[in-house]
Symmetry: C2
Subunit: 406 residues, 2 copies
């Protein structure tokens, strides 16, 4: 099996880059800290004898050759970017578990029939640049390369510019090559596995997602002498939409989720009635019909609120991921791996989006989940037990060997 | 009378400093642009033969000597700072109308018995540094000097540091000297005068204000796999408070006002349930009992929302201005001035806070309002007609001569 301590140590080493006071990580996509994390990963892979390639979206591929190096590789990987107040495991675990598989194959002097690759996907979190999972999306043909490179952060800096700046604008084409199988190891980011005391989640697929950007338009005016009845308060409209989104989520619970994560007020001054609000909506559901219903309910509710609150609204949908089943053979390789190693396991649907969701459009794909403490992620207190980290890495090794051949 | 064209031209010249694309002004307190505006004012005053003094809060006093220069001065003035998306008249008009009075006295070779001073008060808007009217407040003993100098913006820079940086940390003590009478000319910032086609508002006093800062504390977690029923969404709690504040305002309308002008979400990432929200509340009412009732209703409502939304809340009140009557003799001087000049006028209560409200605690004070287009201010489209600007300056000249003696 893998060396669980070595994997844990590498995780803790990576977590120093962009460490936050509360024990979490802030390593936003394509910042200087992201560059540092990438450089460390590349150095470790080269030390493990891998060759490195970087594609035009900055995705990194570390390759351990196969016996027949002309065969399509078996790939694993995830992302190194984090949320602004993220944890030490989300993404990073899937990358470094892949590196640990390579190191273990080296230690055990195992030659695989197919090459093995460890991928780092750019801007998975969708926090600095929206939408999320954009670079695996370009790889899989969900987005055009031009769209991906032109994607801008809140300060107007684009992914293309930032890749150049940190030296990760690679020359390789993004996508268009065959992958024999793709696996991604990840913390669950939800409460199910821990609550049921199960070590391995055999991920059978992911729920659907719809992301929106809304602009609420009112009229700026003085908070003192402007009578209540004549106001057109953009924040009042936005607040009612936040409440609406929550009600839609509750109406579609327990499986559905609805969130307003970002909201910016303009001009954001204490004695000015807000003139404009930018806000986002994130809907998720495993059932496409329910997801479509959430969309309809939101649009009808926003129209009603706009009228009642005397504000203008525009709604732009910026992401639409259908609910998605993973490849049965890859899922079975994960289930069999957990079983053979004696770990408790159960089938589970991913609540989060992952790069694996995009890759599954162009390659047979599955995922391996481990529990996380209290189901909490996207939080500096995100945590996982070393034995879970170890177990997930072992299942990944098994599943990859199953597909790569010895 | 005054030279209305000269006053208008000076307003337009000042409006070039920090001009915005939409025809407004962004000249936040103690920025480089504020310095530029101050420098221009000081140069104009020196050209008009005034001496300049600056106090420790950066308040500027331009003085035209009186026949008996040992007598307490008659003072006028307002502020040069603006909202982030402010207009060309709010504050600036009251300053430059004072300068125009001095220029007119020079042109007409009028000697006044008492000295005449034109004041620029630091950080009236309360936008970059809260609370508003802080430097006139220190002058009037509402706040300690230490409190004023230590007041910080959202980036942690203090008024004291920024005064040093822009060269306006004066040596004069702030306050503690006698003012014979204080007048402030200002746009109404509300719809009443224009609606009634009245040129001059004889301001009899100002309504009370209470300002609050709230922190809403939830728990950050992933927007995808975190089930709705277990969430503790700080933005949901905040949104319900925005709606509550609006309901309180409507319940106390038409005279009462209630506004959430500022709201910051943390970490403000699309797929993270917000863990923390900072927000402000601004309550206004001319009746102190009603204002106290608004406070009680807000505290009870926030407690109920906190419980229902499973979030923590803290409420800090940072400003408490009682409703305030101006000095009857100064008010009468304004009324008489308007009458003598043949302008239509009416008594009016100020909906906004003004430096005059603070100064009225230590000196006989009144204000002169002119209409503004559609009652709109704290907006780049804020506007006023040249004839109103002219009329208000003429009334100011009359009222000041009435108090300063010839
Ligand atoms: N795994 C993860 O946190 N992905 C971020 C994209 C999402 O919002 O699901
Ligand atoms: N006049 C004015 O806009 N003052 C700002 C302070 C306030 O009333 O909020």
């Amino acid at each position: 099996g893998i060396d669980g301590d070595r994997l844990w140590d590498s995780l803790m080493e990576m977590a120093k880059i962009g460490a936050t006071e509360k024990g979490g990580n802030c390593r936003l996509a394509l910042t200087d800290l992201d560059r540092e994390g990438r450089d460390l990963f590349v150095r470790w892979c080269e030390e493990a004898g891998c060759s490195i390639r970087v594609d035009r979206m900055g995705n990194i591929f570390a390759r351990r050759p196969g016996r027949d190096d002309s065969l399509a590789p078996v790939m694993t990987g995830s992302h190194l970017d984090t949320q602004p107040t993220g944890g030490r495991f989300d993404g990073v675990y899937g990358v470094l578990a892949g590196l640990e598989v390579v190191r273990t194959l080296n230690d055990l002097e195992i030659e695989t029939e197919r090459p093995v690759e460890v991928a780092v996907w750019t801007n998975e979190e969708g926090s600095r640049f929206a939408p999320s999972m954009i670079a695996s999306g370009v790889f899989a043909g969900v987005f055009d390369l031009d769209y991906g490179l032109a994607c801008a952060d809140q300060d107007g800096r684009t992914i293309g510019e930032e890749l150049e700046r940190i030296g990760y604008a690679g020359a390789e084409p993004c996508g268009g090559r065959e992958i024999h199988a793709f696996f991604e190891t990840h913390i669950e980011q939800g409460p199910i596995l821990e609550a049921e005391d199960v070590t391995i989640g055999v991920v059978t697929g992911a729920q659907g997602q719809k992301w929106y950007e809304l602009e609420i338009e009112g009229q700026e005016s003085h908070a003192g002498p402007t009578p209540m009845p004549v106001r057109r308060d953009a924040l009042l409209g936005a607040a009612r939409i936040v409440d609406l989104v929550n009600r839609i989520g509750l109406d579609h619970a327990p499986t559905g989720c609805a969130t307003v994560g970002m909201l910016n007020v303009h001009p954001n001054s204490r004695n000015v009635i807000p003139g404009r609000v930018f806000m986002t909506i994130d809907f998720r559901h495993p059932d496409p019909d329910e997801l479509a219903a959430m969309d309809r309910e939101m649009r009808a509710g926003v129209a009603e609120i706009a009228e009642r609150s005397r504000v203008g609204t525009t709604i732009e949908q910026i992401m639409d991921l259908a609910p998605l089943p993973f490849d049965p053979a890859c899922v079975e390789a994960v289930r069999k791996g957990a079983e053979a190693l004696g770990y408790s396991s159960r089938a589970i649907v991913s609540g989060a989006g992952h790069d694996a969701c995009n890759i599954s459009r162009v390659a047979p794909t599955a995922m391996i989940f481990i529990p996380c403490i209290d189901g909490i992620s996207h939080n500096e207190i995100e945590d996982a037990k070393p034995e879970w980290i170890h177990a997930g890495g072992n299942v990944l090794l098994r599943a990859m060997l199953d597909r790569a051949g010895r």
